[in-house]
């Protein structure tokens, strides 16, 4: 069974046109007290200087002896979901015992991976071998909690604390900002839906893999999320600039409720979206766009990809 002492870890970074932030991410990774054995950088067909930079970075990589670097360049932008799916598949193919995934605006603090692995071993001690993931505490760059990346705790979230593990909280869903996932989970539950493109891919995936055993947040493994403004999101905030993102969100979450839960959950979600947009006075054309995505969700039901099978 993989454990902190013996496991091989593949860090997976997905990037798209955010070179300056990516540089900071890579620097944070190089500064880890426990280095990953592999670093997989998924370039989501960036149109800025990312590709050139990565070629240079790979060539001059200072930790060549310790970390094997792999650049995966996607032919077109597959969104965060497609990037994570491709990166995790690559991590699996490299034989890693764990993949450690994060976005190109998440800066893991120096002990993030060390604490995650330690937390995983403790979580297994406390809950058994079926712990499907551990994730970091996500903070905003000013050190306050990241409003949009709070994992959802289970009803018995304090169970591990009662056992003396003060830094462990049991959770269901979390976002893909520093999540450590063991290999067997990918084999059994598959990869995130690449078809989601963006939004809700992380929520669906972490819910999928926590059907039997919850995930665990390791509160002293810290990652800083550099996301501009620190605020949560809901459908009252739909505007011309972000409607494309909310559209994916509505389709993906609607599909999840309908195809993985039941029709009542789907209808309830539609009602919540409707009420939020009304409350936020979202312009009618934008509302219609969102409604059409909710309808699209009815026929949108992608199949799970498994890393042990070639990509469909």
């Amino acid at each position: 069974m993989p454990s902190a002492n013996t496991a091989t870890v593949a860090a997976i970074v997905v990037t798209y046109n955010r070179l300056e932030k990516l540089k900071k991410v890579l620097a944070s990774l190089e500064a880890q007290t426990r280095l990953p054995e592999h670093l997989v950088i998924v370039n989501n067909a960036s149109t800025d200087d990312t590709a050139a930079y990565l070629t240079e970075y790979e060539h001059d990589f200072a930790l060549k002896d310790k970390v094997r670097i792999t650049i995966v360049t996607l032919p077109e932008n597959a969104g965060g979901a497609g990037g994570f799916s491709a990166g995790m598949r690559k991590g699996y193919e490299l034989g890693a015992d764990f993949v450690w995934i994060f976005d190109d605006d998440g800066y893991p603090q120096p002990t993030a991976l060390e604490k995650l692995l330690e937390g995983y071993d403790n979580a297994v001690d406390g809950l058994g071998t079926d712990v499907p993931y551990v994730c970091s505490m996500v903070k905003f760059i000013d050190g306050s909690i990241s409003e949009m990346n709070n994992p959802i705790p289970t009803w018995d979230w304090g169970r591990l604390q009662a056992k003396g593990y003060d830094n462990l909280v049991m959770v269901t869903a979390c976002s893909f900002v520093s999540v450590l996932i063991p290999r067997w989970v990918m084999e059994v539950f598959g990869l995130p839906y690449k078809e989601y493109f963006i939004w809700f891919d992380d929520a669906e995936y972490t819910r999928r893999i926590t059907q039997s055993c919850p995930g665990v947040e390791v509160t002293d493994s810290i990652v800083l999320h550099d996301m501009g403004v620190n605020q949560g999101v809901n459908y009252s905030m739909v505007n011309d600039k972000n409607v494309w993102k909310f559209s994916y969100g509505a389709r993906n979450e609607g599909s999840y409720h309908l195809h993985h839960q039941n029709v009542w959950q789907y209808l309830y979600f539609c009602l919540v979206v409707h009420n939020a947009m009304r409350r936020g006075n979202v312009a009618m054309p934008l509302r219609r766009k969102i409604y059409s995505q909710l309808v699209k969700a009815i026929s949108f039901n992608p199949k799970v990809d498994f890393p042990q099978q070639p990509e469909a």
Binding site: G128, T129, W184, F189
Partner: protein
């Protein structure tokens, strides 16, 4: 982890073990009976083998007499039969697996789509030493209307009812000649071709064998308790030891496993498997672990369905390992029972050992198994000394003693025997005495029928605790009333004890019993023929002797065939090279 110092556990160390215990655990194991301790060791060995290197916490519970031990199945992970059933453990301890695995053993298992949660705890259920199968049956009797009607008809009108059963038997015999559907292994390819599959399965290949792995054979049995196949199974454990192998004894059926304490099991690795096991498509973890830890040369199957179903896995990765199965009688229940399973799995079996000419004929002539793959080697010598035999004179010229030896079960048809006793008592009161030696699930039925016909003074019942030799010593003739047999061991035992045998003409009984000793099968005909024969034997001592002599000569001829013991000795010697 400190090692044990207690004397009993030191003895236990001579058993094959794949784990380490601390002192407290040893003391707890000391407090258990030998059988219970052996069951716990078996369970811990199993979990240590399939979870190499892990330290698991074991909670041991004492169940009721009507339960069966739970040692290796999925309830040992979720505690559904123990902790979640409101029981308190009688002891708990940690055991660290010392297995040096050569391939990956996943801690993650699924039952269908549902993950089997593994909290590092194994819940083991034991049963009291005096628990029996009857305790289990009586706790949950099959009380359906059909069963009640069947039992009532059987009890009220045994003779008439048997006419209906005879039709049923003939139909089953007809079906037994029908084509056998071959077993299709549930391979990774087959599982992955199913669209409803939860996730694609990956083939897990066994790793290389550890250095200095002991030479071993697997003896796969139904269970470790009384039965003809089991007696022969135990004999093969002994033969394996004599040939220098470490026997790995696996069983696949629920039972209290009383024979686990038999000295024959000393030095063997004994694991009574309780189902369903933790397993995954494309992998047989316990077999993979055993093949990594032992130099397994062969497998002997004695009525073990699990081993039949996993034979393909063995042959896939270890084609040189020989697989032999032993079959006793042509079966008609359960669509043909084990002989049919043997045919269905024939592709992976190297040799079918049969103990009666009838089975040989059934396999070769009816089901076209090549004669080179079927060998008839009788169990002569297993329970009786057939070489130095002499005729046993009548005990009492006034009374003829007639014996029944065997389980009280439908196959042995105790009701037919009782009806013969009734007919004889009516025809010649006080001239015949009957002994019924044995017990089984029809004990209550048997007692009820004896009482109903007022035969308490005519039929004497003897439990299995009395040596069977005493019954042969007290009897003048053995009456075999079974509806189906191969060649019964009791026939061989009786002839060896100097008494003749009258038998229903079933299976291969006609190999040893000449026509004058054979009785028609259906109950009414059986009673008619038995009455005529017993009267004749009672009146003609010379013919009783003649019958025995013919049977003895037939037994001698039969004994000149290669015996099962000699065949297996030869096989084991070949395997050990």
């Amino acid at each position: 982890m400190a090692s044990c110092t207690s004397p009993r556990v030191r003895t236990m160390k001579r058993m094959c073990r794949f784990f380490q215990l601390d002192q407290d655990a040893c003391e707890f194991l000391d407090s258990l009976s030998r059988r219970q301790r052996s069951l716990v060791v078996a369970a811990v060995n199993y979990h240590s083998l399939i979870q190499p290197g892990r330290t698991l916490h074991y909670r041991i519970y004492m169940g009721e007499k009507w339960q069966y031990p739970r040692l290796t199945d999925t309830s040992t992970l979720n505690g559904s039969c123990t902790e979640n059933d409101g029981r308190e453990p009688i002891g708990e301890f940690d055991a660290a697996s010392t297995v040096n695995a050569q391939s990956e053993f996943s801690p993650h298992y699924f039952a269908g789509d549902e993950q089997l949660l593994d909290h590092n705890i194994r819940y083991i259920l034991l049963t009291p030493d005096d628990a029996t199968d009857e305790d289990v049956w009586e706790h949950a009797p099959n009380a359906s209307r059909a069963v009640k009607l069947y039992n009532e008809l059987e009890y009220r009108w045994p003779v008439a009812f048997d006419r209906i059963r005879e039709v049923q038997r003939e139909e089953r015999e007809r079906k037994a000649r029908g084509e056998v559907r071959l077993y299709e292994p549930f391979t990774v390819e087959r599982a992955n071709a199913n669209e409803k599959n939860h996730h694609p399965w990956v083939e897990v290949k066994p790793g290389a064998r550890v250095a200095d792995a002991p030479k071993a054979v697997i003896v796969a049995m139904h269970w470790l308790q009384a039965g003809g196949a089991e007696r022969w199974g135990m004999e093969t454990i002994q033969l394996a030891k004599e040939a220098g192998f470490l026997p790995i004894v696996l069983t696949d059926s629920d039972g209290h496993q009383p024979w686990i304490t038999d000295p024959i099991c000393d030095g063997a690795l004994v694991i009574p498997l309780t189902q369903p096991l933790q397993y995954r498509v494309g992998d047989a973890p316990i077999l993979r672990a055993l093949f990594e830890q032992f130099d397994i040369r062969g497998i002997m199957i004695h009525h073990c369905q699990w081993m039949y179903d996993n034979a393909w896995w063995v042959k896939k990765y270890f084609p040189d390992v020989k697989i032999v199965d032993s079959l006793h009688i042509v079966e008609y229940m359960f669509r043909g029972g084990f002989p049919r399973e043997s045919l269905a799995h024939d592709e992976w079996i190297d040799l079918h050992h049969v103990i009666s000419p009838q089975l040989e004929h059934w396999m070769e002539d009816i089901h076209h198994i090549p004669a080179s793959k079927v060998i008839d080697a009788p169990l002569v010598g297993l329970t009786a000394d057939s070489e130095h035999v002499s005729y046993a004179e009548r005990r009492d010229p006034q009374v003829l003693n007639v014996a029944f030896v065997g389980r009280m079960s439908r196959q042995k048809r105790p009701d037919a025997f009782i009806l013969v006793a009734k007919a004889m008592e009516q025809a010649a009161p006080g001239k015949y005495h009957f002994i019924m030696h044995g017990s089984g699930d029809m004990d209550t039925f048997t007692d009820g029928l004896i009482k109903r016909y007022g035969l308490e003074g005519v039929i004497e019942r003897r439990p299995m605790s009395i040596p069977v030799s005493r019954t042969y010593a007290d009897a003048d003739v053995l009456l075999v009333s079974s509806v189906n047999e191969g060649i019964t061991l009791t026939t061989i035992e009786a002839i060896s004890a100097g008494i003749p045998v009258l038998s229903a003409n079933v299976g291969s009984q006609d190999t040893l019993v000449p026509p004058q000793g054979l009785l028609r099968r259906m109950t009414s005909s059986f009673i008619h023929d038995a009455k005529r024969s017993l009267t004749h034997l009672n009146d003609n001592e010379a013919d009783r002797r003649k019958l025995w002599e013919v049977e003895k000569n037939r037994l001698e001829t039969f004994s000149h065939k290669q015996t099962a013991n000699s065949l297996f000795r030869q096989l084991l010697n070949e395997w050990s090279k």
